[in-house]
Amino acid sequence: MLRVVKRQEPLKGGTPLIVVGALALSLGISMLLLAAQGKPAPRGLFLLWDGAFAHVHSLEDTVLKAIPLYLCSLGVAVAFRMQVWNIGAEGQFALGAIGATWAALHFPDLPAPLLLPLMFACAGVAGGVWALVPALLRLRLRVNEIISTLMLNYIGILLLDYLVYGPWKDPTSFGFPLTREFSPAAQIGRMIGRIHWGILLCAAVGLALAVFLKRTRTGFEIMAGGAGARAARYAHMPYGFLVGLVMVLCGVASGWAGSLEVSATLGRLQPSIMAGYGYTAIVVAWLARLRITHIAFYAFLLAGFRVGVENLQLELQVPHAFGGIMEGLILLSVLAGQFFQNYRFRRAEG
């Protein structure tokens, strides 16, 4: 008989090993699945690597894909740190895109140094306010934020649909749901290769958040607040303020992700910008164990899988769903690995 026992101390220095082991395990199972479909598994592994990380252009693709994911994940991780279960990054992303688009469509003639900050301000406000709603509902009416943030996602996406199908529809689009293309001043240009300047925003937000959480009193309170509302109140922490703050932080970060998506990669608003980054961000945040400094790596990794699986599809004609399966396997095995960092099996006597 085997029993699960808690380790007296978490396994030290095991994190990189766990990650590598879990990745190897999930890749191994994925390759087994490939082989079961009659596809050459080692070549599959190579193609995945080749499509995601092996060339300059594939790295660019992966980074581009990782940018919105990274921003959303940062926000989600901060909220989860407080044990505020914010599932609403997707809706906040939509609102950010809406906010930025509003500015871009209403002030197309402003010069870029004014227009871009305005777009980000609008995106931040829209995303932040959207996130504040469930925070207030939770604090005032004790509405479970898991439900309210999830429901607000649908409302946010429907609002986006309404605007794109209605008032903001480009009159020259033959009735198709697109806004007009933004003026050049409203579009973020490329920095290196195909990577746009938004990556600097990512770096700034990530750095600011890390410093904020590590070095400030409020940051400490957020980290400690995760231990529980009662403990936090006992220590005279402004619990309600903190809940509102982490939600707004998440809303702003996700909103900026949406803003980058319309401004840097599409140059207009259309319904298909909703690619599920807000939900994938939850996976990234958990993989990183809610550590702000680890999120970049996992966002990059998951983006790489998304990009690499397309290569696998193209060359081996595996179904699209295979990518989802791989992602699930990675999450499961990493979480399982983390479990064994704190627990171990012991043979039960007798």
């Binding site: 396994l11 095991g14 090993l17 766990i18 590598v20 082991g21 879990a22 190897a24 395990l25 890749l27 191994g28 199972i29 390759m31 087994l32 490939l34 082989a35 079961a36 479909q37 009659g38 596809k39 050459p40 598994a41 080692p42 070549r43 190579f46 499509g51 252009h57 693709d61 581009l64 894909k65 649909d161 199908y165 209605g166 033959f174 009735g175 198709f176 749901p177 998506e261 990669t265 599409l266 259309q270 298909s272 910008i273 690619a275 990009v307 397309e310 290569n311 599809q313 193209l314 060359e315 004609q317 179904p319 699209h320 769903a321 690995g337 064994f340 171990r344």
Partner: protein, 383 residues
């Protein structure tokens, strides 16, 4: 220590795979690509050093999973026809979202030397144009849009002709004179289809009405089935649809009424209710395009072939469709194919009774492509 064990296990697994997979693929090869078994074997032996140049690579980008019926499935049938051509290999990427992801997938295809790339959804229009600028030697064909450039052509089929014919069948079979139409999004393509269907219905049942519900989905079996049920609840006794799942068909069969499918023959999902379906038949068109690229005669244009080219058609009738109805439809089909009859020939009025196409005139392609109004007899809003 545990981690090492996990690592070793993973390594062992991989090792096993390396050993095992070389014998595995043979099993599937004949099923996947009948004519290419030898080539596939060669590919597996030397994955990277595949002799190229002789083969023209043709790529397809699909908006949804291929699945077993529907829009992407129909395109994939076309791809298989291209695959069967001499000197051509094909591949595809499915379920590509229509935003920035599309640009990446199209770029990668072009980079890998695909000579012809079909992008088969409206939302791929701008990405296709953008990528085409970087790859002037690649031919891009975009489905259902309106932009073109030196190496981008666009194409669509006159599905509304087949919709009209399916409307005749539906109009002949309805008893309540109320028909339901589960529609995807209020875009011109869908609106055009609803209008054509309604005109077909009215040609045999002048006082019938067509009720429209928007599902705002292209493929969501549960939502689309629910939408169909809401139409059944208000007394509709024929359900038509413009999505890629057979959900509405199943709803109709469960209620014991009739249905009209879409995209491909959906009778397998609802044999008792499926009257017919307006269907896509991309094979001849795709092989024609690829041939013209190979012999150098391809040029950038907007093509919108119809029933006369066989690109749209009706699925086989269900056994419940009586002979006199079939005769009526076949008669209309002959007139459409010969050009004697146009679906949107005047007078056509909109819901408010305003004349949109005057008597003696025919709606031009421009008007059809930008259609945002419903014809008289449709209950619903284009918003």
């Amino acid at each position: 220590m545990r981690k090492f064990i996990v690592g070793i296990m993973a390594a062992a697994l991989l090792g096993l795979l390396l050993a095992g997979c070389s014998s595995e693929p043979q099993k599937e090869a004949p099923k996947a690509e009948t004519s290419k078994a030898t080539e596939q074997a060669a590919e597996q032996a030397t994955p990277e050093a595949k002799p190229e140049g002789a083969e023209t690579k043709v790529g397809f980008i699909y908006v949804s999973p291929i699945g077993d019926a529907g829009w992407s499935y129909a395109h994939d049938l076309g791809r298989k026809a291209v695959e069967a051509m001499d000197g051509v290999t094909t591949s595809y990427v499915e379920a590509v979202p229509e935003g920035p992801d599309a640009e990446r997938v199209i770029t990668n295809m072009a980079r890998k030397g695909y000579k012809v790339i079909f992008t088969t959804s409206f939302g791929y229009m701008d990405p296709t144009i953008k990528v085409a600028k970087e790859f002037p030697d690649t031919v891009f064909m975009h489905c259902s849009g309106f932009k073109k450039s030196a190496n981008v052509g666009n194409y669509f089929g006159r599905m509304y002709q087949a919709r009209y014919l399916s409307g005749i069948v539906a109009g002949a079979m309805t008893k309540t004179k109320k028909l339901g139409y589960v529609a995807a999004f209020p875009i011109p393509e869908v609106i055009r289809g609803i209008n054509a269907f309604t005109l077909g219905v009215q040609s045999v049942a002048p006082d019938a009405e067509v009720r429209v519900v928007w599902s705002k989905t292209w493929y969501d079996p549960a939502t689309e089935k629910e939408a169909a049920k809401s139409l059944l609840d208000v007394g509709c006794d024929v359900i038509a649809q413009h999505q890629d799942s057979p959900g509405p068909q199943e709803a109709a069969q469960e209620k014991g009424v009739y249905s009209v499918g879409y995209d491909t023959d959906m009778s397998a999902f609802a044999p008792k209710s499926h009257l017919t379906a307006p269907i896509w038949n991309w094979g001849p068109f795709y092989t024609h395009v690829v041939k013209s690229v190979m012999d150098g005669s391809w040029k950038s244009e907007s093509v919108w072939p119809g029933m006369e080219e066989g690109i749209v058609d009706l699925a086989p009738y269900g056994p419940m469709v009586p002979q006199d109805v079939r005769d009526k439809v076949e008669d209309a089909r002959r007139k459409i194919v010969s050009g004697q009859f146009k679906v949107f020939a005047g007078p056509v009025k909109d819901q408010k009774g305003e004349v949109k196409v005057p008597e003696g005139a025919v709606a031009g392609d421009e008007q059809l492509l930008g259609m945002t109004w419903f014809v008289e007899g449709v209950i619903g809003s284009t918003e």
